[in-house]
């Protein structure tokens, strides 16, 4: 369930309160996010839409601990990430967040297997345990037969599936997807959306996705619009 009114709701996975983010441009301060309130339950699939510069990616970056807000708080699983920084925040991100980007952002000199293994290098898993994890997630995304291919040898859809495997391999609490289908044709985009829906349904993952595409957004349980730094709920399904 998603709530935008900021009412206390202690069992929500993500609780955002009075979140503000300003950017400085010269002497001018630009208010990108204005006092946002949002509660997101576990297992939700939410799409954020809005015009360019509306703050969608900024919001995602703040929830993912990639950036610090100007004011306000973000609590994930009862842990306030806006109060931590540096090494603790990095460790939290590695443990709890999976990132999926529009341009896949795979490391070109690593194979699909190695790209997926990358986050596991930060864990204490043994080599054989890492192998097991990587093979499992690659089979979930349907790339077990391409695991030793380099990104340049994969199609766009396959690259994005590898990126999804990398995002879920450490079993994060939630996934952040920034235009995950933005660089794909419709067929590949549908495959990716099906995969994301499967992750929500079968593996109870929580997904927050930024998109420009209404068709893509239609796959989510809830679509939220960001406009002039404010959130508006525009569609709710299921």
């Amino acid at each position: 369930m998603v709530q935008l009114n900021g009412n206390s709701k202690t069992d929500a996975l993500i609780q955002i309160r009075l979140l503000c983010k300003n950017y400085a441009r010269g002497n001018e301060s630009i208010e990108v996010l204005k006092n946002l309130n949002l509660d997101i339950d576990r297992g939700e699939f939410i799409a954020f839409m809005g015009p360019s510069g509306s703050g969608k990616t900024t919001l995602l970056n703040l929830i993912g601990g990639l950036d610090q807000p100007t004011s306000g708080s973000i609590v994930v699983d009862n842990y306030e990430i806006t109060q931590i920084s540096g090494r603790k925040l990095t460790e939290w991100r590695a443990r709890h967040v999976g990132f999926i980007f529009q341009l896949y952002n795979l490391i070109p000199v690593l194979t699909a297997f190695q790209n997926v293994e990358l986050p596991l290098l930060l864990t204490r898993l043994s080599k054989s345990q890492r192998r097991e994890h990587v093979e499992t997630v690659l089979s979930i995304v349907g790339l077990q037969d391409r695991m030793h291919y380099f990104p340049r040898q994969l199609s766009g859809g396959q690259e994005q599936r590898t990126a999804i495997a990398r995002a879920i391999v450490s079993d994060p609490t939630f996934l952040l997807c920034d235009e995950p289908t933005g660089d794909l044709d419709r067929g590949s985009a549908n495959e990716i959306l099906e995969l994301l829906s499967r992750l929500v349904k079968e593996f109870d993952k929580t997904i927050l996705m930024v998109t420009h595409d209404p068709v893509t957004a239609a796959q989510a349980h809830t679509t939220l619009h960001l406009e002039k730094g404010l959130l508006i709920e525009s569609a709710k399904r299921g």
């Binding site: 993912g64 990639l66 990095t90 991100r93 990132f99 000199v109 690593l110 293994e117 930060l122 990398r166």
Partner: protein, 379 residues
């Protein structure tokens, strides 16, 4: 895969650039190795020269002889426990290009005066018993492929005629830096066959029983022979060698200048290559940080990458320098102790590490401080 192999994987990109960077390191360290060999060839003799040995030469010049009668007088001076002498032979083997040092020596005292040269006792005995005998250094034997029993003809330049010698022994140095390129013949053989040499020697070596007394001894010797037809100049072997090397000019400054310019250039090349390489991977570094790689780990990886390049290139350069040294002195006898010392190999590796660190530190710190959101914007 682990963090180390992740660093090595980065060598797969921009291979030509990486190869050229490694090559520039290799060339620089090869040059360092060669300069170090040349430097040591000039300055090691000063280091290894006996601090307790003095050379007594004619005040006019080393090429002017001294009377043999000084031998007993020197022995009687307080503080001297051994006296020996030599004469420059100056023969030519086959061609003038085959230069090497030949000394007519006093067979009875020479090996005691220079204990750093190791001669098997039976070879020393054979040398003493054969008027035409000679002892040669190990590097000289290697240079001309001479062995014990060979007969060697030398054309005299100071002493006319062709002189023939039998190789009776081959000496080795106790240290790598000891000069093993010399040729020793018996002084008596020369004296018996040269009328004008009778009663004269080239110069004397005297050994002080206490190194602290060398200044006093040299003053005593020179005072004793002052105002005689054969006045002397007495200096320690160390000072004498240093003066001799000074004649070649300021080799030290030349080597430091060349080495300095080479390494500064190398630093600029490697530094710009590393910076370029990291700038190209800004987005990837952002991704790695997003995945949970800490700034410290990124710093370590970038620095390690720079160090790996430095060590591979530096290692290749030093191996090439060692191979070069193994070919022997290319000047045909000027550089007597021609080798790359373990100290210089270590120094070369330290220099490679320092340059690797210096070249990598700025991009490494920039990567560590890189904000993820800024890096992702550049993807």
């Amino acid at each position: 895969m682990n963090t180390l192999s992740l660093m090595f994987v980065n060598f797969r990109r921009k291979r030509v650039r990486k190869l050229l960077t490694v090559c520039s390191f290799a060339i620089a360290l090869f040059l360092f190795g060669v300069l170090a060999i040349i430097y040591d060839s000039f300055y090691q003799p000063i280091e290894v020269a006996g601090a307790d040995r003095l050379i007594v030469q004619n005040k006019i010049s080393i090429i002017m002889p001294l009377p043999y009668s000084y031998y007993e007088k020197l022995k009687r001076i307080d503080g001297i426990d051994l006296v020996s002498f030599a004469f420059w032979f100056g023969g030519v083997y086959q061609s003038e290009r085959n230069f090497f040092m030949q000394f007519a020596v006093d067979t009875e005292t020479w090996s005691q005066m220079f204990p750093e040269f190791i001669i098997p006792p039976e070879q020393l005995k054979a040398f003493t018993e054969d008027r035409q005998g000679c002892i040669i250094g190990q590097s000289l034997a290697k240079r001309f492929n001479w062995k014990v029993g060979d007969r060697i003809p030398l054309k005299g330049t100071i002493f006319p005629g062709v002189w023939e010698f039998n190789v009776r022994g081959i000496y080795q140095g106790k240290r790598l830096s000891d000069d093993t390129s010399q040729f020793w013949l018996q002084y008596k053989y020369l004296e018996e066959n040269s009328e004008w040499l009778k009663g004269f020697v080239g110069w004397y070596y005297v050994h002080a029983d206490d190194p602290d007394k060398t200044f006093e001894i040299s003053r005593t010797i020179d005072t004793q022979f002052a105002n005689s037809p054969f006045e002397t100049v007495t200096v320690t072997e160390k000072a004498w060698t240093a003066t001799f090397i000074k004649q070649f000019g300021n080799i030290r400054l030349l080597i430091l200048l060349v080495g300095g310019v080479v390494f500064f250039t190398l630093l600029l090349i490697t530094g710009s290559n590393m910076a370029m390489s990291i700038r190209e991977r800004t987005g990837e570094i952002g991704i790695m940080k997003t995945l949970g790689f800490s700034g410290a780990r990124i710093l370590f990886m970038v620095l390690a990458e720079s160090l790996i390049i430095a060590l591979i290139g530096g290692g290749i350069g030093l191996i090439l320098a060692e191979i070069f040294a193994m070919q022997g002195d290319p000047t045909g006898g000027l550089l007597t102790a021609f080798y790359l010392s373990p100290k210089n190999i270590g120094l070369g590796l330290i220099i490679a590490i320092m340059i690797g660190l210096a070249a990598g530190i700025i991009p490494a710190v920039q990567s560590m401080r890189l904000k993820i959101v800024d890096a992702l914007r550049r993807v």
